[in-house]
Amino acid sequence: MALLSTLAHGRSGDKGNHANVAIIAHDDAGFAWLKRHLTAERVAEYFAPLGPSRVERFEAANVRGLNFMLYDVLAGGSSRSLRTDTQGKTLALALLQMEIETP
């Protein structure tokens, strides 16, 4: 087992009550692994405790990136969320700590 952070880096932020989590592979082999294994379903399952209404995956192959939209995960968004991380700033680091089967 390894951590997703061995393959990729990333950044996350908010869009109202939704968050985007961008995961960017360090190399082409890593990107091929991400495309195959880091599905929207798997990310939705990982973040299930936050209760996303749905998770959508977009590709940005130019930067070897996958961008995940996590809908309705910020407990109201930056204006009214009672969470400390109202803007989902820590979600990318959380996802990069996902344990993965070594590619």
Partner: protein, 445 residues
């Protein structure tokens, strides 16, 4: 070949006050952009303006403009483009003029739809919530601000009219960069690929140091963030550009920092909607150049929409959050119990809330239930937050932390900042409006 250097010295209201001055001093800039407005900043400014008609703009800008005085004297051709005008671009421009009386100031307004809401609704613009589809009439009485995100065209017009400083209300963040680029290169506003290219540049620099090493996952001591340089886009006439920062400053610009920022706060990277163009962020190539230089190729557009995004804020009750520190052993369990006790005591006094939350920070609660700690932390921060329509109930909540210092668990400490403040909640209502219903306005002072 003509090149235009556009640097962004401010990524939000609250960003470094020194950064714009240092960027202007060392960046060899043609344009300094300063971005102050987050989604809900406008609601705060609207409330300020309601109390004082001369207020309602990002007052930090005046401080920055004053301190830019010596640099502006040495670099008389340096132009400034900022959305500091907020809810009151005319008031902001008047105060700026007092600090820069030799400079022609362009004022971009027309974004404020609040005075026109009933007219727009009557004309059939539903201003429905983009997420839920609900019509605005559901919350009409509670609305405090409604602003369309204007584009780059009025900024370019202000520059063409001779403005040395452009003060705008709500415009799309990237348009602060697109406006100067379009003006300097005399781009046509239906040359969508060029607008898309400048939109990529604007998006990369709009959050300040986030493009130059801030938030970069591989940043460490060697990144020298204490001295971080703010980002510069050196634009070419074809839309390609170099992303860089002033020489000798801290921070890092490389394809990793650029790629992280390219996808920051983006939904579909192939369709990044702005009032100017729908930009395809997947169409650009990023390549490392000389030290702290990333070459970004010209971008492709994916059309343009016939609507502006509208950011609406409405009153939604009150909230407060307070903290205590709970030392171990069993810090996490004691913290969660302490939070429950606090809320129970209020419940026993007949006080409940529309929503409440207990966090044990240090035990994974930034992403609750997802990130787990592998050890018993030496201490955690107990944080309790509530929200309720009734202000008095929230006030009462803020008085319930201190008692835990003596009537809670052993290891309770950290009650040093007094009772937490109560703040009004402004909820966010995103909508669209037809471009034909909005009239961007350019004036000079």
């Amino acid at each position: 070949m003509k090149r235009v250097r556009i640097g962004n010295g401010c990524g939000f209201w609250g960003d470094s006050l020194d950064a714009p001055v240092r960027l202007a001093e060392h960046g060899r800039l043609d344009y300094l952009t300063l971005e102050y407005l987050a989604e809900l900043t406008m609601s705060i400014l609207a409330v300020q303006k309601a109390k004082d008609p001369t207020a309602g703009f990002a007052s930090d800008f005046l401080d920055v403009l004053g301190r830019l005085g010596p640099v502006r004297k040495r670099q008389p051709n340096l132009k400034i483009v900022t959305n500091a005008g907020g809810m009151n671009p005319h008031g902001c421009a008047a105060k700026a003029k007092a600090l820069a009386h030799d400079t022609r100031i362009g004022i971009v307004s027309g974004d404020d739809l609040f005075p026109r809401l009933d007219e727009l609704l009557a004309a059939g613009h539903a201003l429905a919530n983009l997420d839920t589809g609900e019509p605005l009439t559901a919350i009409r009485g509670k609305v405090v601000s409604a602003n369309a995100y204007l584009g780059a065209r009025p900024i370019a017009e202000a520059l063409a009219g001779g403005a040395g400083i452009v003060v705008t209300g709500r415009v799309a963040d990237a348009s602060l960069t697109v406006g100067p680029a379009a003006h300097e290169f005399k781009w046509n506003f239906d040359d969508l690929d060029r607008l898309a290219s400048a939109t990529v540049a604007g998006h990369l620099i709009e959050c300040g140091a986030q493009a130059t090493g801030g938030l970069w996952i591989h940043a460490n001591e060697e990144t020298r963030l204490a001295d971080v340089g703010y980002p510069i886009a050196e634009m070419n006439p074809d839309g390609s550009f170099i992303l860089t920062k002033p020489e000798g400053t801290g921070g890092t610009v490389n394809v990793e920092t650029a790629a992280e920022q390219l996808l920051y706060e983006v939904t579909d990277p192939a369709r990044y909607y702005t009032p100017d163009v729908t930009a395809d962020f997947t169409s650009v190539r990023l390549a490392n150049g000389a030290a702290n230089q990333v070459h970004v190729s010209a971008a492709k557009a994916n059309g343009v929409t016939d609507s502006y995004k509208v950011s609406i804020a409405y009153r939604d009750g009150f909230m407060a959050a307070g903290t205590l520190v709970i030392a171990g052993p069993n810090a996490e369990r004691k913290a969660r119990l302490s939070g429950a006790i606090l809320l129970d005591r209020l419940k026993n006094a007949g006080i409940t809330f529309a929503e409440s939350r207990v966090e044990a920070l240090g035990a994974g609660d930034c992403v609750p239930g997802v990130v787990k700690t592998s050890c018993d932390p030496a201490e955690v921060v107990l944080r309790v937050a509530v929200r309720d329509p009734n202000r008095a109930q929230v006030e009462r909540f803020t008085k319930e932390f201190a008692p835990l210092v003596t009537s809670g668990f052993a290891g309770t400490t950290g009650y040093t900042t007094g009772r937490p403040p109560v703040r009004e909640v402004f909820a966010y209502w995103p909508a669209l409006v037809a471009k034909s219903a909005v009239r961007p306005n350019v004036e000079f002072l």
